[in-house]
Symmetry: C2
Subunit: 201 residues, 2 copies
DNA sequence: GCGTCAAAATATACGTTGTAAATTTATAAT
DNA sequence: ATTATAAATTTACAACGTATATTTTGACGC
């Protein structure tokens, strides 16, 4: 009988390949990295990755999931380390969101490019997304409980999410010029949105 | 002496090819349409488009510019046809924005995918973007003049832009589930943002 | 009208891609 | 040691964008 790969060996290979893919995608973008280059990075022949991943998309999905998890980690850490009022701690989460996106633009883009209407193919992507969603909305509950913000936490969370995501995408896509400064826009818009969700006066 | 193409003939071919590309990209997405298929659509050999466009990216840029122009047209038409208060007419522009994005998801994505940090290569893309930017902010000026909204029109315009764009991208990327309904989110968020930019009570 | 010359169009070809299929290598059980 | 087979590699293929080579075409001087 031949040697068979253990679950740990499989997991280890997948991890190493996902790490390499994450690094290379971050440097050059998704389409600029070939399967051959990816395999070469691990010192194996071009077809070996296909024993561990169905195809390139599945590797992409793994990178996407990892990115979402690092993202969630970053937000949770930011919140855990933040001090001050509930509002200040929530701001720290927002800042961490922005910092992650600009520190990892390719990964950030991949997180929202994966699937495009076929996310059902990779349920783990959905799981990672849902974790991030919870992370992004959880910190709002205290604010609403305290009456600092008024409304449905889910709706408020997604409003902030959409605003941050949109501003970041505009910036990454080069749609904001020097005059349309990202920091000025996001500061102003976050202030307005927060004011809109605040109680009267 | 051989026959040489007139400026109109060149323009005509470019138009026809851009139209075909727009249609095919809309159906199948950018990467699913090959140069060979594109040429076949016009009944010419695979290399003929290269006499009229430098490469596939330049065709993409042309499609992107056309999309931005149709987009600007749609917003301007919506505003021109809208009746009621300045606020109601601005809402019509927002609705037209959303309608365009969901009616032309691939074109919409292409508008914000083009370039990614190398938009300087296609100055016409920037021109088309700037027209859209003006269209999106122009209708806010009356609102500010009337005191319905308070703030810098550029900043307010980009806040709405970011919010709409972000929510649309989240929806198109499949990040909003049934429970996280797009209409509920965008309605709530737009209301809050508008309230945030409104004078005190 | 006819050969001529260059623009326009096409045909061919190349390197690269993702990956299917065929082949080789390596190892656990007999 | 032989054998069976998982794992890895090699080979191969179709499709891609496009560079280069070739053919077609039509306006000009004669």
């Amino acid at each position: 009988m031949p040697r068979t790969l253990t679950a740990e060996e499989i997991e280890d290979f997948r991890d190493r390949l996902t790490d390499a893919a994450t690094r290379l995608f971050a440097e050059k973008g998704r389409d600029a990295v070939s399967m051959r280059e990816l395999a070469g990075e691990l010192g194996v022949s071009p077809m070996t990755p296909y024993r561990y991943f169905k195809d390139k998309d599945e590797i992409l999905a793994a990178v996407c999931i990892r990115a979402f998890d690092r993202f969630s980690d970053a937000l949770e850490t930011a919140r855990a380390n933040a001090t001050g009022s509930a509002m200040e701690r929530s701001s720290a989460v927002g800042n961490a969101y922005i910092a992650f996106a600009f520190a990892n633009p390719h990964a950030y883009r991949l997180m929202f490019d994966m699937a495009w209407g076929q996310e059902h193919k990779y349920p783990d992507v959905k799981r990672a997304t849902d974790r991030a969603r919870k992370t992004m909305t959880a910190h709002l509950t205290p604010l609403i409980k305290q009456g600092v913000l008024i409304g449905d936490p889910q709706l408020i969370g997604h409003a902030y999410w959409a605003l941050l995501h949109g501003a970041i995408e505009l910036k990454l896509a080069g749609k904001l010029t020097a005059e349309q400064d990202f920091d000025a826009i996001i500061t102003d818009a976050l202030t307005a949105l927060t004011r809109g969700y605040s109680p009267k006066d």
